[in-house]
């Protein structure tokens, strides 16, 4: 399959319909692929019924489609079993699930290690767990370029540490985390590892076994699929030992007037009616992703990223946040321009058909560590092309002329 941007764009209805749009906000929401959209419509118009409930043929068809989606997600992650895949509403819900269910097995004084670079979604749930149970929450600092500073790992990931929960890739700087170093440090003390793959999963299929982690969370809307669906993958033996998070229908083994026993995972963690059609749509997006030539896509994304950084560095008063261009990074580039607020920058860029995000990107601790409060972010995806980058650089010239 061709991975040239023009042929890829043709598969995205919104991009195909608006060729003048330069969409550079895929780190927030990637565009939905036609295959995912079609899968949702097909499911809702031919197999719509609740799952795990009915014995009629329509319900059987819905069950089958939903469980096939689970198997597809398992293949995308190279999981041992589809039973390790839990559908949630998104990465945020996935992390909250772990913070409540796995977190519920922790006690006061146990240590959870996160990093300064986390999205609030992987920050606040652990602060709340600290409030509930008295765990100790410890932060891995970042370097001046926003990468996790691993020099202190032996002190931070100590015998009290039960969980290391970190981002796979920063949603602000694009810096990839050295997962192997963290896993090695965690294994040494018997701690588990959660990887927040909200940004990472968009850049290709994952291998949770090779990563040797324990939990992986990602969202459908960042992986060219529908919104309102996400995945939590967890090691089977860990999920089996965890109490439920949300409770209700579908997650029980038996309810009596006196007590309730839980279903086995993954149903134990899918209380209520799950996002069925969304999961089917996500599976179509993941199947499509698994068919792509990712080394070629990564090479092109890296070229676009380098060109963007090179152009940005020539703008007076502009400060880049994050690693050097030569560092292996996801194609996410954030910057601030002296005297200009990101909202104003993005507003003017919008008038030039450029869609970028400005603000704190739900990563206030990271921005504070980088000496910023807000910034402007351009995030490149597999459908981005040279015209997007040149339009942004031209647009910033316009911003400077009009607002400075």
């Amino acid at each position: 399959m061709s991975v040239e941007p023009e042929s890829l764009r043709a598969g995205f209805p919104l991009l195909a319909a608006t060729p003048q749009l330069h969409y550079l906000d895929s780190a927030a929401t990637a565009q939905i692929h036609r295959l995912a959209l079609d899968a949702v419509v097909r499911h809702e118009t031919t197999r719509r019924a609740n799952v795990s409930r009915g014995t009629y043929r329509l319900a059987e068809a819905a069950d089958l489609a939903y469980e096939q989606a689970r198997q597809t997600a398992a293949r995308f992650l190279n999981a041992t079993s589809a039973d390790e895949v839990i559908f949630t509403s998104g990465a945020t819900a996935s992390i909250n699930l772990v913070a409540h269910a796995f977190g519920g097995t922790l006690k006061a004084g146990d240590r959870v290690v996160i990093s300064v670079a986390e999205h609030h979604s992987n920050f606040v749930p652990w602060q709340m767990l600290r409030e509930r149970t008295g765990i100790e929450l410890v932060l891995i600092p970042v370097t001046a370029s926003g990468q996790l500073d691993l020099g202190l790992l032996p002190e931070l990931i100590d015998g009290k540490c039960r969980l290391v929960a970190v981002t796979q890739c920063s949603n602000v700087t694009g810096a990839w985390t050295d997962v192997a170093a963290l896993v090695a440090a965690a294994r040494k003390v018997g701690a588990k590892v959660l990887l927040d793959g909200a940004q990472g999963a968009q850049h290709g299929p994952q291998d949770v076994r090779a990563l040797d982690i324990d939990f992986y969370a990602f969202s459908g809307h960042k992986c060219f699929g529908p919104g309102g669906v996400g995945v939590l993958w967890g090691r089977g033996e860990l999920l089996a030992a965890m109490p439920p998070f949300l409770t209700g229908g579908g997650m029980i083994s038996e309810v009596t007037a006196q007590a309730t026993t839980w279903a086995a995972p993954p149903q134990r963690f899918e209380a209520g009616t799950p996002p069925i059609a969304q999961a089917v749509g996500l599976a179509a997006a993941l199947e499509w992703m698994m068919s792509l030539d990712w080394p070629q896509i990564h090479a092109r994304e890296a070229r676009l990223c380098e060109r963007l950084i090179d152009g940005l560095q020539r703008i007076p008063g502009l400060r880049l946040l994050g690693p050097e261009a030569s560092t292996r990074r996801a194609p996410i580039v954030s910057f601030e321009i002296a005297g200009l607020h990101p909202h104003d920058i993005c507003q003017v860029l919008d008038a030039h058909q450029l869609a970028l995000r400005g603000g704190h990107h739900c990563a206030q601790p990271l921005l504070a560590a980088l000496g910023a409060e807000v910034c402007t972010r351009a995030s490149i995806a597999l459908y981005s092309d040279e015209a997007d980058i040149e339009a942004l650089l031209d647009g910033l010239g316009f911003v400077l002329r009009e607002l400075a």
Partner: protein, 151 residues
């Protein structure tokens, strides 16, 4: 100048740059700090009040041009008004932005925000300083922020 969005008229840039009322009061009767969680804008508003009317206003505003221009408009015109009048202006301004209502009476410069009608995500930028001012005047109202002190 036309920036392409139609939003950044010279009046907005001039008000933002003038930063009327920027700073702190030595003795404030009311003070509030409000944040816009979407973008990190922050307004700290202080007021001195005598016989129910504002005798001095000062603000420290970190934010976009719209937020800074709105705070500057307050700095230029709020002295002499009472809480009811400010509330009336804030309500009228919100109506102007959301429903195309007339420019708030007595505050003609707020017409500079009329182009922001087309950008609902920016309404909060314009309204934040007014909400901060109301919270400083009437901390019991809250306005969703942090009322630091009042008496």
């Amino acid at each position: 100048m036309n920036d392409g969005s139609g939003l950044y008229q010279d009046a907005i840039k001039q008000f933002a740059q003038a930063a009327n009322g920027h700073g702190r009061l030595e003795a404030a009767d009311g003070e509030a700090r409000l944040d816009n969680p979407l973008c990190g804008d922050r307004v700290r508003m202080q007021v001195a009040v005598a016989s129910g009317r504002i005798t001095a206003v000062a603000h420290e505003t970190k934010g976009c041009l719209l937020c800074r221009a709105a705070a500057s408009a307050i700095g230029a015109r709020a002295v002499g008004e009472d809480a009811a009048a400010i509330e009336s202006v804030a309500t009228a301004l919100e109506g102007m932005l959301k429903n195309g209502a007339p420019v708030p009476a007595g505050w003609p410069e707020l017409s500079m925000f009329e182009p922001a009608r087309a950008y609902p995500s920016r309404h909060r930028c314009v309204l934040l300083p007014f909400r901060a001012l109301l919270a400083a005047l009437r901390p019991e109202v809250g306005a969703g922020g942090t009322a630091i002190s009042s008496n």
